[in-house]
């Protein structure tokens, strides 16, 4: 996995690093990755605390012509650093995003109030969490309370909906279920936990592995019963497909990766197989499709763009060079706030130049960032597909 010796020092990765662009404290993927790797000794305590400034967007990996994967080298350095150094409260909280969110969800009205008051903001600040965009509103009725339904459809999927949909936007989750059901696909909601990515991003390998193992065991049961797994959050997707077999070394990973699909990749497959012939109705919108870094890293192309191309009237432009800066929990940390705001502002100013009315993105945290900073509506691709097919989240 570590190919640092293949580096030819071309600096292409550096040009692609969003953090390096705006934060002079981060030495960039070449130095933090292959260059520093030469000096990292097993026996010595790690001192390179700046590795935590890497947002794990993976852009450096995608750019490197030599297959070096600087982001993986840095990810390992982050885990090492995490293991050897006590963490700030914010790191621990975000590593446990799932419990934080679950807590917020149970006490939603209270949590929302706290997060939006001055004192609440102070508390979040004291914990090292930034409040420059409204903290996600904790949503009361989570997806887990949705009932499993039976039908005779042949295609069966287990839906890995992810934390964002679960805690903040279960309405989108419900729409996706209705959408798949309208395609005669049987949808179940398997027992699931956070994919583990936030814990990994905070240098907490143990927590990440704990979640990953639980998820893998749960999803594996469904796969054995003939289900395909689908994800909609592309960061969850990258974690399942890339980190489970990779750094997390999950024993059931092969089975998971063989049977897991991006939602839109799955829908394209249904169309390709002739299983469905959706009749898309005109949607008159002009949108910018912001490609989440992790969708790009998945190496599956941009499946939702293929569906957008089938929707009459829809005008869309693809933006895949503008990291939104939030990167899940990364931008919520006080130390990264300025980086996140600068990158987000840049992305928004480029989006605004197009004259688009809406932003579309597969990842909830990108939508939160870009929607929050631009004041524009930021939609999930599934929302647009549902609009075109006349599907709502209510029965």
């Amino acid at each position: 996995m570590i190919n640092f010796e293949h580096c030819i020092r071309c600096t292409i990765c550096v040009e692609n690093c969003p953090v390096f662009r705006v934060n002079p404290d981060f030495p960039g993927p070449k130095q933090a990755g292959p260059d520093a790797q030469r000096f990292r000794m097993e026996k010595e305590k790690s001192v390179d605390n700046w590795v935590l400034l890497c947002s794990q967007c993976k852009r450096c990996n995608m750019a490197c012509p030599c297959g070096v994967d600087p982001a993986e080298i840095i990810l390992q350095a982050q885990q090492r650093y995490g293991l050897q150094h006590p963490r700030t409260l914010a790191h621990l909280l975000f590593a446990n995003n799932y419990y934080l969110s679950a807590l917020g969800s149970l006490t939603a009205p209270v949590a929302n109030k706290v997060a939006s008051t001055k004192i609440g903001k102070k508390i979040f600040h004291a914990m090292g969490i930034t409040t420059y965009i409204p903290f996600p509103k904790f949503s009361f009725k989570t997806m887990k309370s949705e009932k499993k339904k039976k039908s005779k459809a042949i295609k069966k999927v287990a839906f890995f909906y992810g934390c964002f949909i679960n805690f903040y936007r279960p309405d989108i989750g419900r729409k996706i279920i209705r959408l798949l059901e309208s395609f005669d696909v049987d949808v179940v909601l398997p027992e699931q936990w956070c994919c583990g990515l936030p814990a990994l991003g905070n240098g907490n390998l143990a927590i990440a592995r704990y979640f990953a193992q639980k998820n893998a065991a749960s999803l594996s049961n469904y796969i054995d019963a003939g289900y395909d797994v689908i994800y909609t959050c592309t960061s969850c997707g990258l974690c399942l497909m890339h980190d489970y077999p990779g750094i997390l070394e999950i024993s059931l990973a092969k089975k998971i990766t063989e049977n897991t699909y991006d939602l839109h990749e799955y829908i394209i497959g249904l169309i390709d197989d002739g299983y469905i012939e959706p009749q898309f109705v005109e949607v008159k919108r002009k949108i910018v499709y912001h490609i989440p870094c992790h969708l790009r890293a998945l190496g599956i192309g941009y499946p939702a763009a293929k569906i957008m191309a089938m929707i009459p009237g829809l005008e869309y432009e693809i933006f895949d060079d503008t990291c939104c800066g939030l990167n899940g929990s990364y931008g919520f940390k006080k130390t990264n706030e300025e980086t996140a705001v600068q990158l987000g502002t840049r992305a928004v100013s480029l989006i605004k130049k197009t004259g688009a009315e809406n932003i579309m993105a597969d990842c909830g945290s990108c939508r939160m960032q870009l929607g929050g900073l631009s004041g524009m509506d930021a939609l999930d691709p599934a929302e647009i597909i549902c609009e075109s097919l006349g599907i709502t989240d209510e029965k």
């Binding site: 292409i12 550096v14 995608m62 077999p245 063989e258 192309g301 941009y302 191309a309």
Partner: protein
């Protein structure tokens, strides 16, 4: 599932692959392009070298050895590929100037002239002789750009340094995209009371809006302004790459990043699909035809082993320039390294010679006998062969 039928798969996101892809997509073919990483265009000056052997590049082409791939493309197609390139870049807001009839110069960071043919509008005002007097602006902490190299060679040149709060080309370019930064910078420039006729900058004047930024400085200062290409990270190279990529997508092409091709599925004379490493479900993409534009050594299309050179995807026969001793000239800075000839020999249909494949076409830096350094023909050759390979491929799948 997971396999979608395409008309054509292009391998490589360099000038050659993106050019061939845009032509096919424009004609309505279902085209996907897969890439392992970013191309050599990002390391380049962004200037389009067609052939530097003669002041008239098309005339220069006739001086090339018989086996040079330029001879497989008619002059009309070379011309067309240049016109089409200029047109598409203008559409993407990244205009080029120049014509295939005459070469021109750009000033290098060493103060020497580099011969090229088409230049981005931001380099249009570069001096073509020793006469122009210049004022050079540099930025505190910027590495690998020292105006004194230039002032040592040119009599009428002086320089000033600006502290921009960033010291990398990418950081500076990002700053220039901000209106408040640009305003502050221009008022600083105005106070310098520059007397020289032209103002020169390292090529950091923005990423998306370089043309507009250059124009704005020209208008406000009443002086001609031009950029000097830097060693990588090179902003003009990246602008070129971005514009080509966006143009390809605008024409309907789809790009798969993180998609290093590692294998093929084949029947007798036909490649059915290309595959990429995967931790789980096999990743494969099938198509009626494939265009190999994976570049030479830096791009990743060729790998040199101890005594031989291999093509990494289809394992095509490679022209190896003799024994390893002949690969490199003893002078490192020589333009005459044997290795420049290495690559895939193609026939007039741009199919690889001495290979079985009916539906594989080859273009760009991976072709044998190009000798890009020696002949000064990098991007221009990629444009011309990209056009020719796309045309040939269209003839096949029709």
């Amino acid at each position: 599932m997971g396999v979608i039928q395409h008309d054509v798969i292009i391998i490589g996101a360099g000038v050659a692959g993106l050019t061939a892809g845009a032509i096919l997509a424009e004609k309505g073919y279902n085209v996907a392009l897969v890439a392992k990483g970013e191309p050599t265009a990002c390391l380049s000056t962004g200037c389009i070298d067609i052939c530097s052997l003669d002041h008239d590049p098309l005339h220069g082409v006739s001086h090339l050895p018989d086996e040079h791939p330029y001879h497989l493309v008619s002059r009309a197609v070379i011309r067309e590929s240049i016109e089409k390139f200029k047109e598409s870049m203008a559409q993407m807001g990244f205009s080029y100037i120049g014509s295939p009839e005459t070469n021109r110069y750009v000033l290098s960071a060493l103060g020497t002239f580099k011969t090229t043919c088409l230049v981005p509008s931001t380099m249009a005002a570069a001096p073509q002789d020793e006469k122009d007097d210049l004022h050079i602006i540099t930025f505190s902490g910027l590495k690998d750009f020292y105006p004194s190299y230039i002032t040592a060679r040119r009599k009428n040149a002086s320089f000033s340094t600006y502290d921009a709060g960033a010291s990398t080309t990418m950081g500076l370019a990002t700053n220039f995209e901000r209106e408040d930064f640009l305003e502050k910078f221009i008022s600083w420039l105005e106070k310098l009371n520059i007397r020289e006729g032209k103002i020169a900058f390292p090529a950091v004047l923005g990423l998306e809006s370089a043309g507009m930024i250059t124009k704005k400085i020209e208008e406000r200062l009443g002086r001609k302004v031009f950029e000097i290409p830097t060693i990588p990270p090179s902003m003009p190279g990246r602008r070129l790459f971005n514009a080509l990529k966006d143009y390809f997508r605008k024409k309907g092409g789809m790009i798969y990043w993180s998609w290093p091709v590692s294998g093929v599925e084949k029947t007798k004379k036909i490649i059915e699909a290309v595959t990429s490493p995967s931790e789980g479900r096999p990743k494969s993409l099938n198509a009626k035809a494939f265009i190999l534009a994976s570049g030479s050594f830096v791009g990743g299309g060729l790998t040199a082993r101890r005594d031989t050179i291999v093509e990494n995807i289809f394992n095509l026969p490679v022209l190896v320039p003799g024994q390893r001793d002949n690969w490199f000239d003893s002078d490192y800075f020589s333009l005459n390294h044997g290795i420049g000839k290495a690559g895939i020999i193609v026939d007039s249909s741009f199919r690889p010679k001495e290979a079985d494949w009916e539906n594989v076409f080859v273009c760009g830096g991976i072709i044998a006998h190009t000798d890009v350094l020696k002949n000064g023909c990098g991007h221009g050759m990629a444009l011309a062969t990209g056009h020719a390979a796309a045309a040939s491929c269209m003839g096949y799948i029709k």
